[in-house]
């Protein structure tokens, strides 16, 4: 599907490709704008990096490509590059009068997909659209692969493909290591009938406890599995979850702004798709979610902007949207069967998934640690996962999957809100896919709910898919349409009083990304004690959340009561959620 969509989108390409040009030098900016117009692109310019970020965060799907100068007074171009990559997963081209190879190298390591020297010539600009296409294809490819392999596998692939160096290579390698072991187990791509493991809060707690015990760096799936001593849990499940977790944490630590606290929540959300959702009221996320939901609803059919990966962009709302669109993109496929279905549910997948994934993947790792170490009472101790499905508010667990749904869905397909963290995208994709699939198939929620805390039936009870920890390769390809609801936490949330953070999760992810985590998020976070994890996120998300806060607030408030304290710790949680959701 995605391929088709891509093709369709490409038909118009590169004409009308939406470019955001950032350069503090008015002369150069004007010239650049003119050149881009000449290439028949749609151009938006700004001479401030901050403004650029705002624009991007506001709507992830609004742009296909970013061109940015390196030397800018308000923010280093490389920093902007990083943020955009992480949060929005958009291709970024650097522009500079510096021809020093050092700068070029820096551009590469920070994830730029190209580096142009000033004065820019029109010939060079005529081909920049290739980066957008490539990015999309990579994502698609990644998600496709994802079906077959562990999430981790995909991530590795996806990462390499997409993250033009942006991806955390180490992470990738790390994952690849893990993945390789498990790969053989997941060699059945087409029939993703493996029973999905739903990473419930409790399960995640155990996981985190095991990881803590072993030491984060040293934690190996086999050992974790042994420590956890959970029946029917396979090493692959653990490995996959671990990978996600690591990514998540890394993201969180690496990208404080974006990820922040969402890690746990996000993580869980991401992994569980659903679970994550409800736990975290992700205030910010919700905003996004809503957006996402909306998006999901609207699911943009693979928008031409093609930034598939962008789902995650914090622009959150936009991003969320993407996710939503790709409803259930399988992010949280709960049902094994669903899984099967998903995998590419979302043609767009890339778009949203990335968004979601990114968040998920990244923040978590760090957050997790944080969670664990902090006393996020609510979240961590083993609960870092708390953010995840089991948010402190276990009660949340009741949070129906609906939340998860929302969360997940929001993203998956939606617009290419690129989630930062390409890797995560992959995950998200999985999740999205999972979600989508599940959404589509949505097995009777109740069944699933049992697994996931979140098994709330969020969507009017129909889509309660407890997003199982998307270890697997659930292709995130968001089934966009499948469950827009899922993502839209907000939407669902509304329906479900309990709607827990699920949506938040999303938001948190999104929020994280945007880094706007302003007060809103905080508010949300706090309110979502449960989300607790997200708390961290909240901070980040505040920016986003604001927007979404609508529904999130509700959730958050409800959750807040429960665990105020959690929230503080919940940094991760919250954030985590969002991330998770975005994954969707």
């Amino acid at each position: 599907m995605t391929v088709e969509q891509d093709c369709v989108a490409l038909d118009q390409f590169p004409v009308g490709m939406r470019v955001l040009a950032v350069d503090d030098d008015q002369t150069c900016l004007r010239i650049l704008e003119s050149l881009l117009h000449r290439c028949q692109y749609h151009v938006t310019t700004t001479n401030q990096a901050q403004k650029a970020l705002e624009l991007l965060r506001e709507n992830k799907n609004k742009f296909d490509l970013v061109i940015s100068d390196v030397d800018m007074p308000d923010m280093d171009g490389f920093k902007l590059l990083e943020l955009v990559g992480l949060e929005m997963d958009l291709p970024v081209i650097m522009l500079s009068a510096h021809s020093d190879p050092k700068y070029v190298m820096k551009g590469v390591t920070h994830g730029a997909c190209d580096y142009l020297l000033k004065p820019v010539r029109i010939e060079e600009l005529k081909n920049i659209w290739q980066h957008v296409v490539r990015s999309r294809f990579d994502k698609n490819r990644g998600s496709n692969n994802g079906d077959k392999k562990d999430g981790s596998g995909n991530e590795g692939v996806a990462n390499s493909d997409q993250n033009n160096g942006r991806a955390n290579r180490k992470r990738k390698d790390q994952y690849n290591e893990d993945e390789d072991e498990e790969r053989d187990d997941n060699d059945d791509p087409s029939s993703q009938k493996k029973p999905r493991v739903v990473w419930t809060v409790e399960l995640h707690k155990k996981f985190v406890a095991a990881v803590n015990q072993l030491g984060f760096e040293k934690a190996m799936p086999k050992k974790i599995l042994d420590l956890m001593n959970v029946e029917k849990l396979t090493r692959e499940n653990v490995a996959s979850h671990l990978q996600k977790f690591r990514l998540y944490l890394k993201r969180i630590s690496g990208n404080q702004q974006a990820i922040m606290a969402n890690s746990d929540l996000h993580f869980l959300q991401m992994s569980n798709g659903l679970d994550g959702f409800h736990h975290r009221p992700i205030p910010a996320g919700s905003g996004q979610f809503h957006g996402g939901a909306a998006a999901a609803a609207g699911m943009r059919p693979f928008p031409p902007n093609g930034i598939l990966g962008r789902l995650n962009t914090p622009s959150g709302i936009g991003g969320v949207r993407s996710l939503s669109s790709s409803p259930s993109s399988g992010m949280f496929l709960q049902n094994p069967t669903d899984l099967g279905k998903f995998h590419h549910v979302s043609s767009l997948p890339l778009n949203h998934i990335d968004g979601g994934n990114i968040l998920q993947g990244l923040p978590m790792p760090l957050e997790f640690d944080q969670l664990q170490t902090n006393n996020n009472k609510s979240i961590i101790p083993g609960n870092s996962m708390a953010a995840f499905p089991s948010f402190p508010s276990t009660q949340q667990s009741s949070l129906p999957n609906n939340n998860s749904h929302l969360v997940l869905q929001g993203h998956p397909q939606a617009s290419p809100s690129a989630f930062p963290g390409h890797q995560i995208n992959k995950r998200l994709e999985h999740w999205s896919n999972a979600v989508s699939s599940s959404s589509s198939t949505l097995p009777p929620p109740p069944a699933q709910n049992s697994n996931s805390i979140m098994s709330h039936q969020f969507d009017d009870g129909s889509s309660s898919y407890s997003i199982p920890f998307c270890d697997s390769t659930i292709p995130l390809a968001p089934a966009m349409d499948t469950n827009p609801r899922a993502f839209y936490r907000t939407t669902d949330l509304d329906s479900n009083a309990n709607v827990q953070p699920g949506g938040v999760y999303y938001d948190s992810l999104q929020m994280r990304q945007s880094g706007n985590y302003g007060p809103t998020t905080d508010a949300l976070l706090s309110s979502n004690a449960k989300e607790g994890f997200i708390v961290g996120q909240q901070k980040l998300q505040s920016g986003f959340m604001g927007a979404e806060a609508g529904s999130l607030d509700d959730i958050v408030n409800s959750t807040m009561k429960q665990s105020q304290g959690d929230l503080s710790e919940g940094d991760l949680g919250y954030g985590g959620f969002s991330s998770l959701r975005t994954c969707l």
């Binding site: 002369t27 010239i31 000449r38 030397d71 009068a97």
Partner: protein, 145 residues
Amino acid sequence: MQRQVALIKKSLFDQGYLDEQFMELEELQDDANPNFVEEVATLYFKDSIRLINSIDQALERGSFDFNRLDNYMHQFKGSSTSIGASKVKTECTMFREYCRVGNAEGCLRIFQQVKKEHATLRKKLEHYFQLARQAGPKETARRSK
């Protein structure tokens, strides 16, 4: 009139005031952007004057913060390059070189050159644009001829 304009332009190129980049800018001028080049030039001069003033102030202060000076000059050079201000660009490069080696006196001296070239170019371009406007759009000119 058109011919006069063309001649002036040619001399600017010949004398090295402008380079190919300027021609690229002209390429971008079209019906949708009829005064593109002039607009860009105006922007350039506005920005660059501001930069020149900053550099002047920094130099006058006497505390030669070469890093800072270099930064300013980098920006200045960047926009000069974008517009095709060839001679200005050359002087900028020299200035940056002096900054690099920490030659304060050299910086001062060269900066005078920079300013001079900049002022000259500005005058010439203003004159050029004025004439171009008077000459009117090429089509009309052609037609009138």
